[in-house]
Amino acid sequence: MRTLVLAEHNNLELNPQTLNTVTCAKALGSVDILVAGQNCGDVATACAEIEGIDTVLIADDENLAHALAEALATLLISLAENYDAILTPATSVGKNVMPRVAAVLDVQQISDICEVVNKDTFKRPIYAGNAIQTVQSRDAKKIITVRTTTFEPASPTGGSAVLQNIDMVGSPQLSAYVSSELSASDRPDLASSSVIVSGGRGLGSVENFALLETLADILGGAIGASRAAVDAGFATNDHQIGQTGKVVAPDLYIAVGISGAIQHLAGMKDSRTIIAINSDPDAPIFKIADYGLVADLFDVLPELAQALKQ
């Protein structure tokens, strides 16, 4: 099988979730990567060094600068006849563009796969991860988004792929980029951080939510949030972990003041070690945590920071 992986990037740097997607694609066959963007040459160079890639296709065009679904789908559809499968990480870009490609190709997309059983059979979570479905696709072409936490990253070095420039075909002009407000942070990216300190409604305010920063600083971790904390305005939407937010699986997940609704558990229950701090001994988070502490988080956080510094 020939597969094409759409690289996720911001025109400057490759998003590491692309590497996990490459591993998934290798289970199906040979792998080419598409880097679509504007002035994205550095990303293409990085992709060429990923181990086991045949060709890196570069589409450098102003219409592709912001990964608008309509333009990106048009490009992917123009390349589809050369491939048996097209894959992206299940990021906001992948989720946005891939169904558009699938519909035009008359293919039923397979979303968020967590295992490749064989070339046409895949496992994927449904009902917020409370059931795992095994589906066999009857479509000749496979359109797939990948749950990256369940695949190891491919090695970012050791490859020597051919770089090939391709042209953007037309531009649909149905939408236009206006602006973005991206959270600037020196912390590791939530999706790839090995430690995540995550806060819930129990924090009570924006100011209290900031208490998590001390802990995250000591551990070199990222900060996450439950939906309740985001809805309450304690954290911005890009922090949300859960069924409809980000899915993470760090080595260590510390849930602070998070009760553990199934929708939240869906986004973090594959973490290696889960630690929960909550004042409610009946909070469902304790049913899945490896270690729990039933206590007032406002007492615990300063004391814990002190203990960890020692």
């Binding site: 490609v101 973005s180 999706a191 551990l219």
Partner: protein, 246 residues
């Protein structure tokens, strides 16, 4: 401006689902069913836009068995004007749903089509994007704000890195995210009024579309369950466990 809203009947979000022991699927017999929460947000947005005068007419569409009429009644009680029920007992995939909605859009000629960004049963997150593709319209997915400007709609989208604003020509498809609005509860008088609002029923077979499944579901299993761990008694112990884990 006319808006179509798609509403799906799903297992209520508060229900802890049970996977059948023979691996054939999830038990839905006797389980509480409700409108998909993201679709409630889509209906609410359309109703608010009608209240502020941008929208003149709201049609709610639901596809599935006879009980989908209950889901449509909920949309009508929230403020939709008419319901369209595409009746079928088949389990349809997102591509098939998108084809049916495409057919409805051609018949009803809306200016916008609102859908929830994902259904909480299959978690596919596909239908809105597929519909937009089939219609060759622009798409504003994961919307957390919608404004009308000259030449179209400006949509704020929740993306991985934060928020993004795009502008769409009309007509367009919008998929609604959690923080677009907080859906209302229908009042009793509105529930009564909704009973008198029209619902058109169309048999799926009469549409003559290819909605055959493309995916063969081999099994549905329980995920590996985590076991509850240990409750610690001191912050010192907690710090030790954290040091071991990193």
């Amino acid at each position: 401006m006319k808006v179509l809203v798609a509403v799906k009947r799903v297992v209520d979000f508060n229900v802890k689902i049970r996977v059948r022991s023979d691996g054939s699927g999830v038990d839905t017999a006797g389980v509480k069913m409700s409108m998909n929460p993201f679709d409630e947000i889509a209906v609410e947005e359309a109703v608010r836009l009608k209240e502020t005068g941008y929208v003149s007419e709201i049609f709610a569409v639901s596809i599935g068995p006879a009980q989908c009429k209950d889901t449509l009644r909920t949309a009508l009680a929230m403020g939709a004007d008419q319901g369209i029920h595409i009746e079928t007992d088949e389990d349809l995939e997102p591509l098939a749903i998108a084809k049916i909605l495409h057919n409805m859009a051609e018949k009803e000629d809306p200016d916008m089509f609102f859908l929830g960004k994902q259904a909480i049963d299959d978690d596919a997150n596909q239908t809105a994007q597929m519909l937009a593709a089939l219609l060759n319209w622009g798409q504003g997915t994961f919307a957390s704000n919608i404004d009308f400007v000259e030449g179209g709609a400006q949509v704020v989208r929740e993306i991985d890195g934060g928020l993004e604003t795009i502008q769409l020509n009309l007509p367009c498809v919008i998929s609604t995210d959690l923080r677009l609005n907080e859906p209302r509860y229908a009042s009793l008088p509105n529930i009564m009024k909704a009973k008198k609002k029209p619902i058109e029923t169309i048999a799926l077979d009469d549409l003559g579309l290819d909605t055959a499944p493309r995916l063969n579901v081999l099994t549905v299993e329980e995920p590996v369950q985590r076991k509850a761990g240990q409750i610690l008694t001191s912050v010192q112990d907690l710090a030790e466990k954290i040091k071991e884990a990193v």
